[in-house]
Symmetry: C2
Subunit: 491 residues, 2 copies
């Protein structure tokens, strides 16, 4: 191995932290809790963005941009929201520095104090609904279907790269509707978009459902979520879509003239996914050798490494690889040819394994003679010899196969780690020994949920949309329940 990695079985958490840094995805910055997303990590995020953006536009949304700063008073306008968001945040109080009187460096100029402090947005409902007020007069102005790609800041105390950082990148959709039904439809549409993205591009199977009251977004009447299972048996909330009712319209006095000639408050949704998805991607698929990337999101899908002893051999290989690269690119396959002379093939193999490149082609002098190439796939770590002639078709099929296989592996893991339990003892036992998702009956009260959380650290990840109606009794209180909910210990 080029860079030694802690094994998952030894210390999963350390394995993750090391992998993110060693695979050049991200690193901690000089600013507490803020990360630097390195080019290789950012290239994956760009691919995620491109697909999501396309999906948002196909469902009728447009992008816009709203201010980074929010006046402090805006947060007090929606009672739940302020509790959820305005507490741990970055506060701008001054707008000028001046030379220090002692001649060393700069100090905050006390004369440049803002009349009202500005909060660096932790989420933009308040500033956006304050803006929408001027955009909406009549039902003809509705719906408004805006999304923004932006950075947000939440002053988290314990941070981890991608999973929980003070600053992170995300998209936040904010829509305005004339009716409750339309807003609810939108909320559902977007959680479905997120689920499709997670499954089809990230190759991460997810459970869709609604959050319990305790776990809802601050200010929402309903939060829909997609929940994914990581390889350590913990759940990761990967995207949420909120039905906000008329809460923000009331807080910011956004009314409209209805088709029927009345006046009503506007109905709202908001929905978002963030660079946290990068954490989900890493933790769902990767192994002790490094990243395993799904071909649809890999910065380059194929790496080609020449194997040679003499300069003239390299020249011959270069010429052949030129052809191969052209053929692959013509099929829309992204490829990197690494013929740098300062590293041995073995080092390169380990390096691209660490970086999760889905397919590696190795070409040596004997391959040229035989018209063959060695093909290594990252997901299974297996190798085979293929014909150079049809290599483009071969690789295209292989990439499809890898994408499907990575998904299947994660799906099978989840199936094995989803357990139905009938009582609290079983519940605790499964959490302790096996982890994963636990389907159990719950009496529907926040009190029971809170007690279970305190005693086991497990939370209700969601009330699954596709859960069956089934008579049962709450594992904690023994009270009647009609549907199982999904518990897990979560990130």
């Amino acid at each position: 191995m080029a860079k030694e990695l802690t094994l998952r079985g030894e210390n999963y958490s350390q394995w993750y932290n090391e992998l993110v840094v060693k695979a050049d995805l991200a690193e901690n910055s000089a600013v507490r809790g803020c990360m630097v997303i390195k080019p290789y990590g950012y290239a994956i995020w760009e691919k995620m963005q491109a697909e999501l953006d396309r999906m948002f536009k196909e469902t009728g949304h447009v992008n816009a941009y709203f201010p980074l700063f929010i006046p402090k008073s805006f947060f007090s306008k929606e009672a739940d929201h302020v509790e959820g968001f305005a507490k741990e945040c970055a506060v701008v109080t001054h707008y000028r520095l001046k030379n220090s009187p002692d001649g060393k460096g700069v100090v905050v100029d006390p004369d440049a104090k803002l009349e009202e402090e500005l909060i660096v947005r932790p989420t933009s409902e308040t500033i956006i609904w304050n803006t929408y007020k001027n955009w909406i007069q009549s039902y003809r102005d509705l719906p408004i279907l805006c999304n923004q790609w932006a950075n947000v800041v939440r002053w988290e105390m314990r941070t981890r790269l991608f999973l929980r950082t003070a600053e992170f990148l995300w998209q936040e959709g904010h829509t305005a509707h004339a009716t409750k039904e339309e807003a609810l439809e939108e909320t559902e549409r977007m959680v479905n978009v997120y689920a499709d993205f997670a499954e089809q591009f990230m190759a991460v199977p997810v459970i869709k459902g609604s959050k319990s009251e305790n776990e809802r977004f601050a200010g929402a009447l309903e939060t829909y979520t997609i929940e994914a299972l990581m390889q350590d048996g913990k759940a990761l909330q990967s995207g949420t879509s909120h039905f906000l009712g008329q809460n923000f319209a009331k807080a910011f006095d956004v009314k409209f003239a209805t088709k029927e000639g009345n006046e009503d408050y506007v109905w709202a949704t908001s929905w978002g996914v963030s660079t946290r998805l990068m954490g989900a991607l890493v933790m769902a698929h990767s192994d002790d050798n490094g990243l395993v990337l799904p071909p649809k999101l890999a910065p380059y899908q194929v790496v080609i490494v020449p194997i040679y002893r003499k300069e003239d051999q390299l020249n011959e290989i270069n010429a052949k690889v030129d052809e191969v690269v052209k053929k692959l690119k013509a099929r829309g396959i992204s490829v990197k040819y690494d013929n740098s002379d300062n590293r041995k093939p073995g080092w390169k193999f380990a390096e691209y394994e660490l970086k999760g490149v889905p397919v590696r082609l190795g070409i040596g002098p004997r391959d040229l003679e035989n018209g063959t190439v060695e093909v290594a796939r990252r997901d299974t770590l297996t190798k085979e010899v293929a014909q150079l002639e049809n290599i483009d078709q071969f690789v295209a099929d292989l990439l499809d196969d890898i994408q499907a296989n990575i998904y299947k592996k994660a799906f099978d893991y989840r199936t094995e780690h989803t357990t139905k339990v009938e009582n609290y003892e079983e519940f605790r036992d499964v959490l302790k020994k096996k982890g994963g998702f636990v389907l159990a009956h719950w009496d529907g009260t926040p009190e029971t949920e809170q007690k279970i959380k305190e005693e086991t650290k497990a939370t209700i990840r969601c009330i699954p949309f596709d859960g069956e109606e089934e008579e049962g009794r709450c594992i904690y209180s023994g009270k009647p329940s009609k549907k199982r909910v999904l518990f897990a210990i979560a990130y």
Copy 2:
């Protein structure tokens, strides 16, 4: 007109402010100096981003992301830089709010004061070079060619939408090189990329040149710029590329082992364009009827408006337009069909004129009979009748023609408004009566430049790259000069 617009001749500045708002590009937000970029404006910015991003990648650059916040002390490390940037900025001093003791709203928690204040980045040289320190050990780690798309904040006192806002969006490239020559090449490469983008996509002709010492970026040894001329005769700096020498490497102690086995400081460049380009785009081409957008950056290049009296006529038109839309889309032409029933065609015509849609097609019952369509082009406001059969080819050619014509118009305007003057009287006279670019001899001293600025408001926009060697005398001091420089009153 749907929305009355001040005429350019009456009050150019007011015309601009109104146009940006009425054409739905942007508006002021509740936060002083910060704008909301509305969906139509953002769609143009997205097109700019896509082209620039492609050009950056074609020249070998990759994207990354660095923190929003910069520790205050970082700014003091480069002497010129702190003077230029650390003064008017947003300062984060606290990380928590708490409920107000009087029960009304929230207040800053005095217990949550940061040990060191954080500055919201006005530009990222300092935090990036602090990061590069860990990325660079040897010449083999170079060059680093990173770009980031980000928001930045500069606490401007007088703001104008797009042209000067407290928060704006931009890209900033930050590259690290082993040699001075390579860094200088990069600096030049990127100003050329900017010029190509401005001319080929924005249809805005620009003058490339280097900045005088007074106008250089704070911390740069050399600043290259592209300067465009607006319709009111004022110049707009539209993009800059800086050769930073070893200043930031020294400030952040970034050294590398050279190929020859020595140790040296790394050479740096940085370069950026911002949402200010939106202002340039609006002011360079638009007229008293509204925006004029170059087809290559228009959110939709064609709008189709049906003209009918009866419902069954509309049905027939809809069917025909379906075919037209398909044909246009097949050629990669973006098109909007507006058959909304709440506005008359006249209103729609004015609305899409205001929004600068390059081509408008009007189709009525008689057109269906004759197999024709009315084609209106936005740049010349002329109309003609075309055959429906080949309308896709016709429109494709027309869009090319419009793109070229808009450029030519701006180019001709600039030619007419570029004046060579031989003495200070002439100089003042041209600035007063005609405006535009003024080519004049200058003695090369900051003092003369400063005096001319104080007396006339004109500044040296650049020392043009393609200026001829020519013996002359400074218009202000009479001292000898070998080259004319470009003066103008600037935004």
